[in-house]
Subunit: 398 residues, 4 copies
Amino acid sequence: MTTKKLWDKGYAVDAEVEDFTVGTDYLLDMQLVRYDCLASIAHARMLGRIGILKPKEVERLVHGLNHIIDLWKNGKFTISKEQEDVHTAIENRLTDSLGDLGKKIHTGRSRNDQVLTALRLYYKDNLKECIALSKGFAAAINGFSAEYGGIKLPGYTHMRKAMPSSIGLWAGAFTDSIQDNIYLLESTLRLVDQSPLGTGAGYGMPLKLDRESTAKELGFSKVQDNPIYVQLSRGKFESTILHVLSQAMLDINRMASDLILFSMPEFGYFEIPSKFTTGSSIMPQKKNPDVLELLRAKYHVVVSYEMQVKGISGNLITGYNRDMQLTKQPVMAGFAVTEQSLRIAAHLFKGLKASKSNCAMGLTDDVYATQRAYDLVKKGVPFRDAYKEVSKKYAGKK
Amino acid sequence: MTTKKLWDKGYAVDAEVEDFTVGTDYLLDMQLVRYDCLASIAHARMLGRIGILKPKEVERLVHGLNHIIDLWKNGKFTISKEQEDVHTAIENRLTDSLGDLGKKIHTGRSRNDQVLTALRLYYKDNLKECIALSKGFAAAINGFSAEYGGIKLPGYTHMRKAMPSSIGLWAGAFTDSIQDNIYLLESTLRLVDQSPLGTGAGYGMPLKLDRESTAKELGFSKVQDNPIYVQLSRGKFESTILHVLSQAMLDINRMASDLILFSMPEFGYFEIPSKFTTGSSIMPQKKNPDVLELLRAKYHVVVSYEMQVKGISGNLITGYNRDMQLTKQPVMAGFAVTEQSLRIAAHLFKGLKASKSNCAMGLTDDVYATQRAYDLVKKGVPFRDAYKEVSKKYAGKK
Amino acid sequence: MTTKKLWDKGYAVDAEVEDFTVGTDYLLDMQLVRYDCLASIAHARMLGRIGILKPKEVERLVHGLNHIIDLWKNGKFTISKEQEDVHTAIENRLTDSLGDLGKKIHTGRSRNDQVLTALRLYYKDNLKECIALSKGFAAAINGFSAEYGGIKLPGYTHMRKAMPSSIGLWAGAFTDSIQDNIYLLESTLRLVDQSPLGTGAGYGMPLKLDRESTAKELGFSKVQDNPIYVQLSRGKFESTILHVLSQAMLDINRMASDLILFSMPEFGYFEIPSKFTTGSSIMPQKKNPDVLELLRAKYHVVVSYEMQVKGISGNLITGYNRDMQLTKQPVMAGFAVTEQSLRIAAHLFKGLKASKSNCAMGLTDDVYATQRAYDLVKKGVPFRDAYKEVSKKYAGKK
Amino acid sequence: MTTKKLWDKGYAVDAEVEDFTVGTDYLLDMQLVRYDCLASIAHARMLGRIGILKPKEVERLVHGLNHIIDLWKNGKFTISKEQEDVHTAIENRLTDSLGDLGKKIHTGRSRNDQVLTALRLYYKDNLKECIALSKGFAAAINGFSAEYGGIKLPGYTHMRKAMPSSIGLWAGAFTDSIQDNIYLLESTLRLVDQSPLGTGAGYGMPLKLDRESTAKELGFSKVQDNPIYVQLSRGKFESTILHVLSQAMLDINRMASDLILFSMPEFGYFEIPSKFTTGSSIMPQKKNPDVLELLRAKYHVVVSYEMQVKGISGNLITGYNRDMQLTKQPVMAGFAVTEQSLRIAAHLFKGLKASKSNCAMGLTDDVYATQRAYDLVKKGVPFRDAYKEVSKKYAGKK
């Protein structure tokens, strides 16, 4: 198997240094195999159209790349650490099977725009997946609300009983929030839906490429014209994605905070399905809401990924800097955490129960104080005076 | 002057505690005076329409509130620390001038939805200001590019000369990025353009209010229906605003990084206008790019504000928690920093110069290596081989 | 009043740019007046000893500087925005009263090492204040524990009742943690206790200064020898301080989280003193734990300050960069927030109560499950089997 | 192979949920095998001393645990995902080989204090490794300085030439900073050097254990007495470690920033060894400082890990919360990144060169302006006037 680096100049590279520079890219990049092949196919066809490759060559390259996609689908495509990344691995394999022709696929392209093209396709698919999962999560909440929505329970402010609320109102807050998350995901999808293919290393190519056609073939809604902006937008697109993911996670964090609290036996408003709880190695009586605690914590994990990208991106001059390679991992991890969390949260709502009797017990007299003040208002008392009147009742209490 | 708190129950509040809870709200809230009055006017009119207030009462309240706006415009409206916030200060003043009628303005409203309504109006205006300033910044860059855009200079990757670029290409990267920032600002404007007025303390009001009409009068494009979501969206809207501001600041950070480096006498590609530089107290020869250094640093300041809001918002149950009060300061500070930076950056571009001769000197032979490889490609050499051929020339060099 | 900048070269400085570069330094620096005067006194005396100044000159400078300290103590020293910072304001005033002699104080010194010296003295005093406040906080907790420590209540894990605990054990966790905070504060105090005076702008001075003697006079335990390291340690010292402050705030955050939860009427284990609660503008029955909520939130505020410094400090070459000026505000704000929070928290514990009866009610049967398993262990049953036996009892329950 | 969870109660656990809760613990925990065995050995011996286990039982357990250490050393110990973590894997294996006796090892212990004990031992070893690596890094810098330290070059402030400096002064700044890092690492080592073993799930054990003896056997310098503090210190210790690691990384970040800039051919002060550079896939002339760029970026990675822990730790009540499990990964990753970076950085300094001729060319006339002003000072001119005099020379220049 060929393991030549694309930029190999022949001097020895120390193994420890290689470990350091490659990092986990060769593992992460397994998620990019299909996207890189698709981009290469589009690129090869375009090279054919502009006369750099002959029709026969295009055909053989496309066939070879499709074959790699098939291998990958069947779990037979691997990237070795020596190959550094998916782009080298694919070019090596093409050269193994097609000889010199395999080398030609790199004409009119740099690893820079290759990486960015594969990542953009990956982002687009994953943003769509997050939208679908958000819809699924909202549907699960709606299903729960259809069964338990009518139950009344106290609404809290400052973690103190405030006014009457209902399971339906509570659930609706989250589905409304999810709608706004979907809006943010779709806005972000539109932002990143720009084709970087053909911008080379950030200063264009000394060849006249047909960027419109590759963008169209790959499903991008527009060409990202300025090659320096292509590089400058790395970090910006990634942190925007992570911000939006963090907001999906924030809803889950707040929802989990409610459920952990109000499923305490001291309240008992909610009942967490058994399979979302775990036991203790020492306390035989325990059923702990571990899944909810982890969902709560994972918000902070995604936020830290966003910060990582924002830290890495600052104080750099324009043009590619290798620092940017390190933004790949946090974005991929951010998608993985968010997608898994959305799935788990939807799953949880399918088994979640609300207890009518416990909620009713929670609706103690003080929850109706505001209502009582407004009864006086309806009789003509100014609200501030009605408030004073009703508040006397609670003066001695905590 | 009346300084009664809206929730005053009569027991002594320790001065140190008051200092702690009020914080700087009474200062920050000076930015909200007009917005809170406008919201109160809309609220009073709606109370008139639904029969809670008589037409004469509405008229007097509207007059009183407009008078407060006038006072504020003339620098004659103040908020004392004892009043805690703008809402109390306004209600106090209304009560001073209108007596019992002043108290009635609080009917059908909580300080919670009052705060949120004033903030949303403030956010909308400031987002619009950021859009206008972004356009102004792009125009300043275009002006600079019109004069110097044709100058060729080396493009860098990894902080090493890479390929030929031009001032125009460089400037265009930033204007394209600013276009995407404007897109993000507009998306965020649409997100926050929801009226929270009428949701009370987060669980609705025991009165039938006409929320559609107040939303319309205040220029909101829709009513934010679910009162729990109104509370839940605090933190989400604020961090989304700060994320977007941070991206405007990131462009400025990258632009400043370029200008600081390439205005070093060792390069001399750019010349910073004198008034954007400062001297040293000890070194007589210095003109330092302080303004650019501060612009660079302020990206991190805005990012930390975003983190502050994201940290505060996590692990809280739904319903209002006082923690959320602390999100007001970072958002206001974020707007202030970003707006000032956009202004300064635009200002700077009006005096910025590029040096044709220095840029030309930078265009050394190695910048054309890729071009040379592609010349071979055009003669039929596969790119990989052309690359090897050309690279021999540079083998012994750094 | 003289308002000449130390580096003034005579060209016009735009007002907007000045606003931008000065920022809030002229306000923040009011906290540094005394420190800067003390450092100047030590510097003047040293200049006398090495023969740069005559004894009479030293005497007059020392007298002038002491006079400025007196003015400041009496609220009569101000720094105008045009003066930019405390160092210019003091030198201007000295020059006003002493003429040319006033100018000589800057011999052998740069604003860089002046700023750093004043800040280090400020840090040392504030770290000591934090240590004293931490001790006061621990004493307040101990006072509370002396009265209520014997009360038993349930200990929780995963927010579920776990095993028996006591108020004393709970309080002791915090005093132990505060001991470790004091250890961290003292370690940090030792770290920053290095004199930067005499390192100029970061590359030493072309004069032979007696740095040991100024360090000694100012109470530094050592000279920070390498002038480049003096600059490099800016950001490092600041973020270390903020990290340690964030840990003091973390304890307060966790303590507040406990108190907010367990003072809910649903538990009633703790009772928050009235003056630490506030009411609602709409709900007459409410007493909200606002002070605790704000204490909880302020942890995140301090963490964001630490991040701000860490963001600003990265990706800069060695030697002073103006970016570093922006680290002043977050450190000062971090001290202010932490010191106020420690004071408020200590204050709160003086009025905090624990309810014996409510705690007793919380000690339901399941809290003793582990104890029961260990009773079997004492009879020879392996723990894992005892656990299984006892857990049967809770199998059907939530 | 046994794969029973320690808390297994018999109901089905959904595979997706298991994936979610286990996360990567079963992989991370491979680093804890030896530490957990050592803690179990100490625990078993203590159980023998207090009469819970018979001498023969202790002997067999110790033998079994030592055998597991041997297996692990030889790469023959694995943890399956079903086993969740190292603690279950070890207990399962003990039970497989020793039957009922294997179960007894869990007497007087909870998974909580087990995890914490293993982690503390791991932290201590890794902090010591960081200290050793820091010393190695300083030694490498000293080696470089011994060869090139005498070379003069310009010192920069605001990225502008300021005053004369030298390679030795520059290198010395880093070795001084590393000394302070070692001080911080040692302070942190003392902080975490407290034995949590014997505190159970956070509320002590219903058995009288001899905690002093296990602490001593495991090499802890003291017992962490309060069991609630043991839990509370999780997050605090971890974030303190990560803060200190971030400071070691900050030095590397700043050093890398210098080297990337000053090895640009435009300066040429430094020469990066070839094996620390990589090429471009498209530009034949390039040798890019990728290793330095990655070192620079990894500072932000470690900072984000610290933020992750700080975010996760806030707003939680005392007592264990599952959220805390997620602090394991960032600390381990923080150690891995920092240790690798320290190794690579030391390695780099062994091949780093400084160019005497390029440095000399950098020492242009303006670098001596301050020197010239001080020459006037020595002739009796007040510094401020000397400064004005010398600055005239540079008035017209950039």
